[in-house]
């Protein structure tokens, strides 16, 4: 089963970076991809992320998200074609030859362009966050976020939300099987679909609520919220962090210049 957003234990470039460096990295990537509208520039950013992933031996994990991205990109492009017709007409979604309904929904260059830009932005954001989460141990993440002054309760909430994704996936699968064995028939039509949710969702949520009770007690009994902590195996900013941040600064400056001269 594909593990969504789970830390992958490895010893490679991104894993060795300090969480701060990686947080700076995703912030820079997010701002750049939101501000840039140039297709070539966005494509280069995607390529850069893929190179970074390959260098950090995380390419396989990253490409597991490709299916989701493809589905989303089709939806994005369809929406922008329908809602943002602009520029030259390339053709029609429903061919003109079709009687009565033919010739509707023009396929415009503007619509396709915006769709592609959205897809690329989406891809960059997903890849960047994915790289960050799968290469950072939750413990380091907790420490970094604590030092940044975030309240511990919110940090734990964030960590736990990520940590229990695979557990819920597995549990959902088991519940689905148990209901199938009782002749559960995923309904047809809209009402059927809604009805078929209850036999799966109710046990899943009830069990999760029960579990959250134990989870909460565990957090307190282990003293995660007591505020005092011995610093063990603390990560320090190393030479490679400074080098990487240097690259980020140079890239950001270059980006600002490109923006000013209207190249992107």
């Amino acid at each position: 089963m594909a593990e969504i957003l789970q830390y992958v234990h490895k010893d490679a470039f991104l894993h060795r970076l300090h969480p701060y460096t990686k947080i700076a990295f995703i912030i820079v990537m997010s701002i750049m991809c939101i501000m840039a509208t140039n297709l070539v520039f966005l494509t280069l950013m995607v390529l850069a992320l893929l190179v970074l992933a390959a260098y950090s031996r995380l390419l396989v994990e990253l490409l597991q998200q490709l299916k989701l991205i493809l589905v989303m990109s089709v939806i994005f492009i369809l929406i922008t074609i329908i809602t943002m017709p602009n520029g030259d007409i390339l053709g029609y979604v429903i061919p003109q030859g079709v009687p009565f309904i033919g010739g509707f929904i023009p396929l415009t260059t503007g619509g396709v362009m915006i769709g592609l830009v959205l897809t690329l932005r989406f891809m960059i954001l997903i890849f960047a966050f994915q790289l960050f989460l799968i290469s950072t141990q939750p413990r380091d993440l907790v420490h970094a976020m604590e030092k940044m002054g975030l309240p511990i309760d919110y940090i734990l909430m964030f960590i736990i939300a990520l940590r229990f994704i695979p557990t819920l996936q597995i549990e959902g699968q088991r519940i689905h099987e148990a209901q199938l064995a009782r002749g559960f028939n995923p309904g047809t039509g809209f009402v059927g679909k809604i009805r078929s949710v209850a036999p799966i969702a109710i046990p899943l949520v009830s069990n999760a609520l029960l579990r959250s009770n134990v989870l909460g007690l565990t957090i307190d009994m282990r003293g995660y919220r007591n505020g005092k902590r011995t610093h063990v195996r603390e990560r320090v900013l190393a030479y490679r962090d400074y080098a990487f941040m240097g690259v980020l600064v140079v890239a950001s400056c270059g980006f600002v210049v490109l923006l000013l001269v209207h190249l992107i």
């Binding site: 088991r174 148990a178 002749g183 109710i202 579990r211 009994m221 011995t230 063990v232």
Partner: protein, 475 residues
């Protein structure tokens, strides 16, 4: 170390007290085991003895709980209590917050105000005592049940407290994994730890238990040296169930028609071969027990009987039809599967509606009569209008069986039907299954309990590493 005097407790919004006049004393370096039917208040006792009840729960509290000679109300918070008591809850998965085993234990150690050097030393010591060194970089959802329990125990040990309270740490484990936990606890006791253990499997922990406490209906009905307590026949049946009186089916089923035929079945999960070259025939009216350790392929095998899994190679024939050509729903009329954890299926508002769900799905005529019969068979007539999740574990297990029985499949498959039950409850389940067999159903159970397999089943299939190691029925 822990003193409970006349402790009573009633959960908010309920009338019936969960604990009633409990007086119990746990002395330093001793191990007390608490046992009793599900729903007797064992977990509530666990919460009361650790002080959690007084700090985290509302409801009506009576009596005194003292930990290390100090009234629990004098401790200012759970973190404060955690300086003295370590608790391992029954749900091991919920006690894992981080994504690798080592991280989990290290994080627990970090909050104890120790120096970095001591932390590193303790970390490796604890990983060694609990045999989890080789799991150090694994993530929780990739661990087996036994491994998860050991990690949860290790993270609690990291706190370094002298008092340990464990709530059914072996309920989902096979014999081998249980022995391992028992061994670890024995070592801890020898190191001087004080242990309060909630358990059903007295047999496995016999050596280390100094006192046995039996709880029923929120009260302690017996406590003392195990041998004294077990002199009482009624308690003995509860603690050490005797399955030898379950009568076996005398007329052998060898001549009757086959209901399930498995031919050279192989199943792969990705690259891992979970089943290889399984062939067997199960005949009408047989009572079959499938035994073997966790991960030997038992559950994978039975999931092929109703096509939750399809063979990678080979065939499964149910009632003369190849499962490849059948839908799961159509097979549900022939093969009913009761999963290990009944909580995975309950979603209705009442017990009756829960049973009706499967019956309606299959469009069975005269559904009311069928549901009544299933309730009667499972001994749940009086609970028909209750909310399923309010039932005790034993009752929920029987409800799980009733849900499947009501669908009238000729073959009933049960995955670990006696998990988390005391002796009497387990016997009740077995007797229900025996009755079903008498009515002509074929019963297949997966079980860790060797006694149940030996005394109740007509045929034992032993599995190991995805293969059938032995089969007393012969194919």
């Amino acid at each position: 170390m822990i003193e409970l005097t006349n402790v009573g407790y009633t959960y908010p919004h309920t009338v019936q007290p969960a604990l009633h006049r409990i007086t119990l004393s746990l002395e330093k370096g001793r191990c007390v085991m608490v046992t009793g039917p599900s729903g007797a208040g064992k977990t509530s006792l666990c919460l009361a003895a650790s002080g959690i009840l007084h700090h985290e729960y509302g409801g009506k509290k009576e009596g005194l709980v003292a930990i290390d000679g100090k009234d629990v109300n004098e401790y200012c918070s759970l973190s404060d209590l955690a300086q003295n008591v370590g608790v391992v809850f029954d749900d091991a998965e919920a006690q894992m917050i981080f994504t690798t085993v080592e991280e989990e234990i290290l994080s627990a150690l970090e909050h104890r105000g120790l120096s970095a050097a001591v932390i590193e030393e303790r970390l490796s010591g604890i990983m060694k005592t609990t045999y989890i060194e080789e799991l150090k970089d694994r993530s929780p959802h990739n661990l087996s049940g036994g491994q998860k329990q050991r990690v949860a125990l290790a993270a609690t040990l990291a706190l370094g407290n002298d008092i340990l309270i464990l709530d059914e740490p072996t309920s989902e484990l096979d014999e081998h994994a249980t022995r391992r936990i028992a061994g670890i606890l024995k070592d801890l006791k020898d190191q001087g730890k004080t242990i309060l253990l909630i358990e059903h499997k007295f047999g496995q922990f016999r050596e280390m238990v100094d006192a046995l406490v039996v709880m029923e209906h929120g009260m302690i009905t017996a406590q003392g040296i195990p041998d004294d307590v077990l002199k009482d026949d009624r308690l003995r049946a509860m603690v050490l169930p005797d399955f030898s009186k379950v009568k076996k089916n005398l007329h052998t089923a060898v001549t009757s028609e086959p209901v399930i035929t498995v031919q050279n079945l192989t199943h792969n999960y990705g690259k891992i071969e979970a089943l290889s070259g399984i062939s067997l025939t199960i005949r009408k009216g047989e009572f079959v027990a499938i035994v073997g350790e966790n991960g030997s392929g038992k559950t994978t095998l039975v999931k092929h009987f109703n096509r939750l899994l399809s063979p990678t190679t080979g065939d499964v024939i149910v009632h003369g039809r190849n499962t490849r050509d059948c839908s799961i729903v159509s097979l549900a009329c022939y093969v009913g599967l009761v999963f290990q954890n009944p909580d995975h299926m309950f979603f209705a508002d009442t017990v009756r509606e829960e049973i009706a769900y499967g019956v309606k799905n299959l469009g069975i005529d005269d559904s009311d009569a069928v549901i009544d019969a299933a309730l009667r068979d499972a001994g749940l007539e009086e609970s028909a209008d209750l909310y399923p999740r309010w039932l005790s574990r034993g009752e929920r297990q029987r409800l799980g069986i009733a849900c499947v029985v009501a669908m009238q499949p000729s073959v009933i498959v049960l995955d670990e039907p006696t998990t988390g039950l005391d002796g009497n409850e387990a016997l009740l389940v077995i007797n229900i299954l025996k009755k079903l067999q008498e009515k002509g159903h074929t019963v297949i159970i997966i079980t860790h309990n060797r006694e149940i397999a030996e005394h109740c089943a007509d045929r034992i299939i032993m599995m190991e590493g995805g293969k059938i190691l032995s089969d007393t029925g012969g194919a």
